[in-house]
Subunit: 375 residues, 2 copies
């Protein structure tokens, strides 16, 4: 398919994104304010509950009456890819770890498997550009664009066409999940995004630098734990890439193609796909959020569907949240990725739905107390 046809397909998805039901949101906020407790006293979980109700109303016309959001079917999609820039010595781990971890995810023994299981979610894995030939029968989403991006200190990470292709790959995953659920008469109620890819904090920091104009030194962290010397080098590598390619912050595809990653494109696609199918999507760490930022800059309307799962130790993360005006739900000093922060945040999303639906208003309490007449 030509770049133009791919782009038209992408635009079709973007144009299909509906605004969540603002009347339901207003009703939810009104109910929260009338609950028998000081106004605003349940902080960020109040906004989260109202936002979830507005999204749920897309599928449930009775939501305006019940305000009772059920997040039953939940999936974390962990997107993997490799990065040519690892040649520059930006990561502690060798590239071989990426396919090894993909196998771990499939085998169920990785951190995301444990935390997703606890959060009542299934884990799906997607290969967008791992430098390894997986067996086509392996139970993952096979969305490989190419085996690792180019080293972006020399060439752009990928072509524009490849960038669009990676985004569409992410959308197709959501489409497939929705289709599989609908066969069982169900839907996807909550999506989490996660990543795996040795070296992928480097493109993520480059992306936030390209969009924000903030200095690379301020935005770049230690990834899985590099020392001061490696950190200095990582900063230089990103500065060099930005200087050579001059990614245009007004053109999200340009940023993704010049300094991004295939799994980051896939993560952007998951967000656009989620918004297109009316599914709330919880982002994990700096790589997932880089994907969300690509999606947001391409289609600002996706913001109504995005929840920031947590604030990572990785320093660039908070600037991404600022760009999108999102308040992260958790701050647990995580720096793992895989979707772990999103999975833990699922628990708070549930809490937000229970707060909205179940805490009584002053009026309801008065009625109950009159009825029960506790002696």
């Amino acid at each position: 398919m030509s770049e133009q046809i791919l782009m038209e397909r992408l635009e079709k998805y973007i144009n299909s994104i509906k605004k969540p039901d603002q009347a339901v949101k207003a009703k939810a906020l009104e109910r929260l304010a009338e609950q028998a407790r000081p106004a605003g006293s349940l902080g960020v979980l109040e906004d989260a509950g109202a936002k979830l109700a507005a999204i749920a109303a897309i599928h449930d016309k009775n939501m305006i009456n019940t305000l009772d959001v059920k997040l039953k079917n939940r999936v974390v999609v962990t997107c993997a890819g490799d990065h040519g820039v690892v040649e520059e010595g930006v990561s502690l781990f060798p590239q071989e770890v990426t396919p090894q971890m993909v196998v771990n995810f499939v085998n169920g023994g990785a951190s995301i498997n444990v935390l997703a299981r606890y959060a009542g979610a299934s884990v799906k894995v997607a290969d967008f550009g791992v430098n390894f030939d997986f067996d086509p029968d392996m139970p993952i989403f096979h969305k490989k664009v190419r085996k690792a991006t180019s080293n972006f200190t020399k060439d752009p990470a990928m072509s524009r066409k490849e960038a669009i292709q990676s985004i569409i790959g992410g959308i197709e995953i959501v489409e497939k999940l929705v289709e599989e659920a609908s066969i069982k008469g169900e839907k996807i109620d909550l999506l989490g995004t996660g990543d795996m890819g040795i070296g992928n904090t480097t493109p993520s920091s480059a992306i936030i630098a390209a969009f924000s104009g903030i200095s690379v030194a301020k935005l770049t962290g230690r990834g899985t734990g590099i020392d001061d010397t490696m950190l200095k080098n990582k900063i230089k590598v990103i500065e060099k890439a930005l200087a050579i390619h001059q990614p245009n912050p007004e053109d999200s595809i340009d940023v993704l193609s010049k300094v991004g990653g295939f799994e980051i494109g896939g993560l952007a696609g998951l967000v656009i796909g989620a918004a297109s199918y009316g599914i709330p999507v919880v982002c994990d760490g700096i790589i997932s959020t880089a994907g969300a930022l690509i999606a947001y800059k391409l289609a600002p309307c996706v913001i109504d569907y995005i929840f920031a799962g947590h604030r990572s130790v990785e320093v660039g993360h908070k600037f991404m949240h600022e760009q999108m005006g999102l308040t992260p739900l958790l701050d647990l000093q995580f720096r793992l990725g895989e979707g772990t922060g999103a999975a833990v945040a699922f628990l708070l999303m549930d809490a937000a739905t229970r707060i909205l639906a179940e805490i009584k208003t002053f009026e309801e309490v008065a009625i109950i107390n009159a009825q029960k007449q506790i002696k």
Copy 2:
């Protein structure tokens, strides 16, 4: 009972507090460091898991082999009391709200009921000093010391004897819960502390000021939402109380009696009781944490059992955590109390136990991958 006999009883409980199993803690930290992920990448949940395992080892000699902590029986105890200082206009709400909320808790329609239910916990309510005559048959812990403290801008909030009595009341609640569980062949695995009491952020700010010496203006917040004029007055009220009574920061009972509250004494007792019975205890907001701080200053060994559930909007809270060297698990901009932040934090405690027990080490992963041989 005389003050001296009460104090001897309190000391008996304090002296019974065991050090959690440090060998188990070390083993847990070792396992966490060997898991197939970057070292330290699951942040504060790693420390929480190790701390929980060390406590659980008190009851389970096999913990050193399994490191599998189960937090099955969980209870939030919400302690209520009234405050003479409300005469000074420190709160938005009238004192009548305290007994009304106690009734709401018993009826199950309050915020803490909803969040505890979601977190798989039961809610118990205790009256330590509500200005209301509850029916003795009402299903709450009846631990009333007196109907509201004295207005501490004039007299000390309570006598030393009353202070000790309130703490012992809290310990007795834990004792009763443990006893009831043991009849069913069970134990209490997790305790949360919560509060209700119109005006009770005022004594809580006074307590942290007394212990830290930090200026009252810096430590005092808006409680349920007072305006600038009321906040200025609240600061003056606390400054006046501290100036008149000069609570001795080296004497925790002195601080509690001069500027504390009956439910705050009860909350301190819950912490001492939990430590005495080997139960991890999660503190909620500024009032619960004021209680924990009283307990900690009286018996520093309780710190091994305390978890900070969340960081409240209330400004004094973080200084309490600093005094005890605790990192709060959540920061959701809550400012409600009742135990709500503790209940939500229960979910993270579970996540911490699953991380420790279930995430595979590099060695285990290698074995599994060799066995499964994913094609």
